[in-house]
């Protein structure tokens, strides 16, 4: 399978990438690791006429301790997240979830900013960043702005990122010592989650769902039930509330809701152990 023809522009810096996007307009698409975009282009579900390759913009690959939060460059690869000492010390959940993305080959190429910008509800990292209340830094011709994760994911593969903007950084609050579990249900180890549930316990409890609607979701009803004193088992029963899962070859919507209840309970229990 071969993508439709396109022009290829390699950006050497974030500034060059933004200039190229401004020049080529809506027909241009950013290429980072290509782990989401290239399969879509091979299936001709995406046919951008210009690809702006930011894969070599090394200035956007880092994990830094920024005092009250961690700053992660948007072009940091999953492999670099799963082996990061800074994450091990200050945000182990991000390290763990990065290690659950795809397989080794995918993690050698794929980037956190690429995954977030793609906005796939079946992706692992967006749900975690939602649960952690991360902030995304995006840069366009008019300068830089920040978007809260809760405001970022708008619809299926649709985000708050404008066509002429590049995500540059992900800011993650430190979560040292947080109880955490990610329960990912899949048929083959390398697959997307059919449903995923994660729980972060650090004083309060946050619960996020993968592939339970057109965007990554917080399981608000579960969080409220726990805050109101419900047991983990009782709270997990509400995991389907506010979700809108699709049906496909892997699962019906009803089965996905069942999985969400089971996986949320397991995630809560494991995060509390």
């Amino acid at each position: 399978m071969i993508p439709a023809p396109f022009d290829y522009v390699r950006a050497g810096s974030a500034g060059e990438a933004i200039a190229a996007l401004a020049e080529h307009g809506d027909d241009a698409k950013l290429l980072a690791g290509g782990m989401s975009l290239l399969p879509l282009m091979k299936l001709r579900l995406a046919t951008p006429t210009v690809l702006v390759d930011v894969g070599r913009v090394r200035e956007l690959s880092y994990v830094r301790d920024a005092g009250d939060h961690l700053a992660v460059g948007a072009l940091t690869r999953h492999r670099d997240l799963e082996t990061s000492d800074v994450l091990a010390a200050h945000c182990a959940p991000l390290r763990t979830v990065a290690s659950e993305v795809g397989d080794n080959q995918v993690r050698h190429r794929g980037t956190i900013g690429g995954s977030v910008s793609h906005g796939d509800p079946a992706s692992d990292l967006p749900a975690l960043l939602l649960a952690l209340d991360a902030t995304f830094v995006v840069r366009g011709p008019g300068g830089e702005r920040t978007v809260a994760a809760a405001e970022f994911f708008r619809g299926f593969l649709e985000t708050a990122l404008e066509p002429d903007e590049l995500m540059t950084e992900i800011r993650v609050p430190k979560s040292r010592g947080a109880g955490f579990s990610y329960q990912k249900f899949q048929r083959r180890a390398q697959d997307w989650a059919i449903v995923g549930a994660m729980a972060v316990r650090n004083g309060d409890t946050r619960v996020a769902l993968v592939n339970m609607g057109s965007t990554p979701l917080r399981a608000v009803a579960v969080e409220e039930a726990l805050a109101g004193g419900a047991s983990m088992t009782e709270a997990a029963e509400r995991a389907g509330e506010g979700t809108d899962p699709s049906g496909d070859i892997n699962a019906t919507p009803e089965y996905r809701e069942h999985l969400a209840r089971v996986l949320v309970r397991r995630a809560l229990e494991a995060a509390s152990a």
Binding site: P5, Y8, M35, G55, D103, N104, R109
Partner: protein, 157 residues
């Protein structure tokens, strides 16, 4: 639209320069432009891992990477592992452990293993099974492949 881009690569220690179409995939570049057909196209959807090669020492699925993205990189394919008649230790271990039947996944399995053992020198069986999750074999049930990888790492005896 389309045009061509000039790329320079080093494939199995040999330098190459070519003008390629931007949409040319790395696996097509290796098989059809450079002429090395040891790298296989299996699923063509980045699921099966048959097309795994090393780019700058790390395993990647060459069906899901553009040749243009590999510009300036050092690429190693299955043809680049043996030293003359002497098999690479991973190839020898696959041979010894009978870690293949039809052989279609083997080039990808071996390349993924070389990368894995570079990252985890003394893997456990679990490390091996997880580390090769991106490579599918439809013949062996994986048992002998895992045995071969552990043998190559010197931890399986």
């Amino acid at each position: 639209m389309g045009g061509s881009v000039r790329i320079g690569t080093t494939v199995n220690r040999q330098a190459h320069e070519h003008d390629v179409e931007p949409r040319l995939l790395l696996v097509q570049y290796l098989r059809e432009v450079v002429g090395l057909t040891g790298t296989k196209i299996g699923c063509d959807t980045s699921s099966c891992g048959a097309c795994t090669v090393l780019v700058d020492g790390e395993s990647v699925k060459s069906c899901t990477m553009l040749a243009a993205q590999a510009d300036g990189s050092e690429i190693t394919t299955i043809e680049g592992l043996a030293q003359g008649d002497e098999l690479h230790p991973v190839q020898a271990a696959f041979h010894e452990s009978h870690a293949l039947q039809c052989g279609f996944c083997t080039a990808g399995m071996v390349m993924a293993t070389v990368s894995l053992l570079d990252e985890i020198r003394s893997p456990t069986e679990r490390d091996v099974r997880l580390g090769l999750e991106g490579n599918l074999c439809r013949c062996t049930g994986y048992h002998n492949i895992v045995k071969a990888v552990l043998a190559a790492a010197g931890t399986g005896r």
